[in-house]
């Protein structure tokens, strides 16, 4: 049983100068424990694909099966699905400004369990793993770019999601922090068999990943 299967996905945007087709009958199968990299030119639809796979956006047509069950963004409980099965890491950290590092990490767990103490405890464990325990009560603007992104990864991981979707996770980091973050993602893939889909411009990241696709003309091509 595959973890996630996308079949014949199409998505287009209506723009001032006409229709822009970003996905044209795209197919993709992701097995549990795999790490995939998707590259492509700017504006080719990489982020759109990731959002569609993560149920943040809808495709115009096509189906997505998660563990062989069809899922749709229109499902009433889709927020629960996102909370429990999907972890997101974005190019910009997108941390909640009014919440401390540990509260940010605990948030998805808190939304699921309604148990703040338990969620906070788990968040602190993750912060220890990341070497950021001392920064737990710091607000996002008191953290460096690399620290912010590692906190964002920890937040995505707290509910042990089946699949982690990372959209240009190093796009906003310097080479040193970028390398640290890629190592962290590889570590999660190796030690926890975490399924990972990384959308990136950085060919160095893509080169380190076993499965590498290039998105062009709305479909995926093996690199």
């Amino acid at each position: 049983m595959s973890l996630l299967i996308a079949q014949n996905l199409s998505k287009s945007y209506q723009e001032a100068h006409g229709r822009l087709d970003v996905l044209r009958g795209l197919d993709l199968t992701i097995e549990a424990g795999e790490m995939l990299a998707i590259t492509g030119q700017s504006g080719c639809g990489k982020s759109t694909l990731l959002h569609v796979l993560g149920m943040l956006d809808h495709a115009d047509s096509g189906t997505i099966l998660f563990q062989d069950k069809p899922i749709s963004i229109k499902d009433k409980t889709i927020h629960e699905f996102r909370n429990r099965h999907i972890g997101f890491v974005f190019q910009f950290h997108y941390l909640l400004e009014d919440f401390t590092a540990e509260e940010n990490i605990a948030m998805p767990q808190f939304l699921a369990s309604h148990n703040f103490t338990k969620s906070l405890k788990q968040a602190r464990e993750l912060l220890k793993e990341l070497g950021l325990y001392d920064r737990r009560e710091h607000y996002p603007n008191q953290l460096s770019g690399g620290e912010q992104q590692r906190v964002a990864v920890a937040r995505a991981m707290i509910n042990s999601p089946e699949i982690l979707l990372a959209d240009e996770p190093t796009g906003n980091l310097d080479p040193v922090h970028s390398s640290e973050l890629v190592d962290l993602l590889h570590q999660y893939n190796r030690t926890r068999e975490q399924t990972l889909v990384v959308v990136t411009h950085d060919m160095n990241i893509a080169a380190g990943v076993k499965i590498h696709y290039v998105l062009a003309d709305g479909i995926l091509h093996p690199a």
């Binding site: 927020h79 996102r82 607000y139």
Partner: protein, 409 residues
């Protein structure tokens, strides 16, 4: 879900940026405080007026009156029969006959219409609290020509305790060789009566019952019987009056204070709630600030909403979080509004600059009352208006798409 909402609320209250001190929040608070205060003051004035009027009416009138139908006077036998019957009723505490007659009070060139009330002042307790309202002088009418008159009547006549006035009654004229001569009676003022009821303070002239009988030229006849009821029977006075009329086979006309004033209180009640409804529109207008405040918050928090949605927060939860922020501000504003309203109301009661026109409103002093149920109704209605108004901008939360938010960020 309550825990999550509570957590966000705590964060909001203790937020580093003091969100609730924002410009739009201040206007929201100010609008609700002013409108709730206005409603509170209006209701307090009505409630105070109604309560004081009722108390004054009950103080200056007896609870039940018994007349002879057809403007006839009650005979000595009728008074005895009625006294025996009424005093045997468990709801009755005191019974006494009185004499009433219209007359003119004069002092020098000043003449005023007045109402003679002949009362047995020697009795320790009367159905109506006459003694208690004698604010100057005494209520002991020791001499035959002693009188107690309304304080405002005294002022209109330019007299006070110790002065003499003449009472003239053309109704009770004597036949003389020179023709009809109006009865004239000179009396000395020993006390001034001040009930707070304008109508009474400008009209009443009290005499001893025997003197009044002589003045009206109807000895051993009485105008009516006054009846005082036990406290718990006061509000059912109309029912008792009806029942006793039936028992006497409508031989006597028995009326209660409710029969005389029922319409007034019904009207006051209608006016009170009409004003409440009208003033509730003030709260509604103030609640429009809720729309702008919540809209601004949602616009400002687009990023936060997008992130929380991506983390798995439902639209329902997000709506509850942002609604609770508005409600907490509104609850504080409503409490402040109530406090301001109570403060203004209390000031109006304490001050002596703005008085009512006694000849129009019966009472000249402004009185307020703040029954819990009125404060409760005001709070609940204000909160309901805020809650319903907030639903309009909250709908936007469902319409916000995570991808659109993140793309703009």
């Amino acid at each position: 879900m309550i825990k999550i909402v509570g957590f966000f609320l705590k964060k909001y209250i203790y937020s580093r940026r003091r969100e609730w001190l924002r410009y739009d929040s201040m206007f929201l608070i100010l609008g609700i405080v002013i409108s709730v205060a206005a409603v509170t003051v209006a209701l307090a004035l009505f409630e105070g007026y109604e309560a004081t009027l009722k108390q004054t009416i009950l103080d200056v009138n007896s609870h039940i009156y018994v007349f002879q139908p057809g403007h006839e006077n009650l005979s000595e036998e009728s008074v005895q029969e009625l006294s025996d019957f009424l005093l045997s009723q468990p709801q009755v505490t005191v019974v006494a006959p009185i004499i009433m007659s219209s007359a003119m009070a004069t002092k020098g060139t000043r003449i005023k219409g007045c109402l003679i009330r002949g009362v047995d002042w020697t009795r320790p307790e009367l159905p109506t609290r006459y003694h208690g309202f004698v604010t100057r002088g005494t209520s002991h009418l020791e001499q035959k020509n002693d009188t107690v008159i309304g304080a405002k009547l005294a002022s209109q006549l330019g007299v006070t305790v110790g002065d003499t006035i003449s009472l003239i009654s053309p109704l009770n004229s004597k036949v003389t060789p020179l023709g009809m001569s109006p009865t004239e009676f000179r009396c000395r003022i020993v006390g001034l009566y001040q009930s707070g009821m304008y109508e009474y303070d400008t009209k009443y002239v009290f005499l001893n019952i025997s003197v009044a009988a002589a003045f009206t030229l109807h000895p051993e006849e009485y105008s009516m019987m006054e009846v005082k009821l036990t406290d718990d029977a006061v509000d059912s006075a109309d029912f008792l009056a009806y029942r006793w009329s039936e028992e006497f086979g409508n031989q006597y006309q028995i009326s209660s204070w409710i029969d005389f004033n029922g319409n007034l209180f019904a009207l006051l009640n209608v006016e009170k709630w009409t004003v409440f409804i009208i003033l509730s529109f003030l709260v509604l207008v103030a609640a429009f600030n809720v729309v702008s405040s919540v809209s601004t918050t949602i616009l400002e928090k687009r990023r936060e909403i997008g992130i929380l949605k991506a983390c798995g927060a439902s639209n329902r939860l997000l709506k509850k979080i942002y609604l609770s922020k508005s409600l907490i501000v509104s609850v504080v504003s409503i409490i402040l509004g109530l406090l301001v309203g109570v403060g203004i109301g209390s000031f109006l009661e304490a001050q002596h600059f703005f008085l009512l026109k006694g000849d129009v409103y019966f009472l000249d002093k402004i009185n307020v009352a703040f029954p819990w149920q009125n404060l409760g109704i005001t709070s609940v209605v204000a909160l309901l208006i805020v809650y319903l108004t907030a639903q309009i901008p909250l709908r936007r939360i469902s319409q916000l798409e995570v991808t659109a938010i993140l793309r703009k960020e």
